[in-house]
Amino acid sequence: MRIGDAKQTYEADEAIWTSNTQKLWFGLLLLILLLFPFMADSYLLYLGCLVGIAVISTTGLNILTGFTGLISLGQAGFMGVGAYTVAWLSLNTGLPFPVTLLLAGLMAAAVGILVGLPSLRVKGLYLAIATLAASVFLHFIFAEWESVTGGMGGLSLEPAHLFGWTFQSDFRMYFIIVPLAVLMVFAARNVLRTRVGRAFIAIRDRDISAEILGINLLRYKLMSFALSSFYAGVAGGLFAYFYRVVTPESFPLSMSIFYLAAVIVGGMGNLLGGILGAAFMTLVPEALKLLTAALTPFYPNAPVFMSPMLEIIFGALIVGFLIFEPHGLAEIWHRIRRFFRLWPFRN
């Protein structure tokens, strides 16, 4: 319930949380995220880490595709750049993980800027094809540049370490991945409520108008590419530390599509949507597998029948969302919020 929401200062009016109720709920969420690894079994912990990595990468792609309006099929390639950077650095230097992750992000950002260069001239689906070409090219480099990437066999790396700590278990990785995901989502939120983020949205909504307001299109499009691939690079770096092996097949094209689908299912141009989309895309296939396991005692043939069905059900769920909830999962959340805004004093 929220009533009497008057603000005295512009600072208070432009804060992320404008009411105590919101702060309370967010504190509760942080508490749950903190306590989760102590309660969860290894399987849930594994899923938690995967969702964290997916949230970072999806948030990055959401900045580029959802907020700047540039469709990219290169996200997996950028993650690959980050993962290989981390793997190479940890094999060849003794740098601690915060440094390697930062460098992974910067390396991916640099590649992102190169890939983004055609974006001034090509838009929409044409840009998607250009980024697709870039991701094929990156895949080729991962597979063929054996002296650096280890070729098809890939690279294996040591666990992340910092000040004598090693992050070998999923339990410890959780405490790297999730706080980083929270921080990076906040950084994205901050970008999007200030000058740079407004320029991104302006380019998405009407680029001629953006130019007339003094926004340099190339500069901001490249900035968006850089930021988005920085997120992908960090996510890829975490991926490398999490699985501790990186091969060209770790980042297939279908992964780029996975992230694009996460952005669309969650809600384009909505950070919360990206988070929900990442969780949905990661967890639903797992939930379907659990369902199969649960059905097996009653129908012994369930695994034979269900395993080819899983992909179909997953696909149908996505199509269903696009038809019945075109603004994504975030819209469902907003509807719930609207319902409770004046609750219990409705009408």
């Binding site: 901050n190 200030t194 001629i208 307001l213 930021l227 141009g269």
Partner: protein
Amino acid sequence: MSILEISDLSLSFGGVKALQDVSFRVPENTVTTIIGPNGAGKTSLFNCISGFYKPQQGTIRYEGRELSSGIKPPKRAALGLARTFQNIALFRGMTVLDNIKLGAHVHMNSGLLASMFYFGAARREEMEVRREVEHRIIDFLEIDHIRRQPVASLSYGLQKRVELARALAMRPKVLMLDEPVAGMNREEKEDMARFILDIREEWGVTVLMVEHDMGMVMDISDHIAVLNFGQVITEGEPADVQKNPEVIKAYLGNSDIDSLRRKLNPQGEAA
């Protein structure tokens, strides 16, 4: 003193001559209006001034310096040339407030890193802009009740007003308005005319507009240039322009006033 001087401007698309040797001047701190029938080249002229079209010939001088085609639209915006569009060009996905803040883009400095961190420099700058937008623009244009609404949900008249607000946030020296009152009802037109006059008087901004509503044009303009088939027929004060036979011909067709009167009222001639 003229803040904007157009000399011998020619622009053609293939065989179509949109502008031919167009010359006129915009005196500083005036409301200057370009009128002319549809297709006369008014919007093309605007696009040349704001840098979207590159004229084949001629010069545009702004504050005494030449705007060559190397000076791109974003740079021209930073120099103080703001404009609105004939068909509203707001950012539909954003609120009114964010649209207006975008106008201040060139006057802000926060880069990517400062924005990510937010607290400190970026926040201070955001709040300064918010304060300026609230005090100088939102109050002035009387749009405080809609500041939180997405622009797509607003009426046409209000959208035009928000577009004007966004242009004002650019702190322009010359404000170019492309048909500011088209499609408005009488009350909205009167409001807009009042705003335009106040912008000139209180803000000291030179207004250059294209408009078809002759009543309003004659009421608020200090200086008028008439364009027909890509050429300037005449320029001058409203009263002089109104009497100019060339202008009457351009608007009413190829016949003089007397013969038109005769056509409309044959009995009168017989009597």
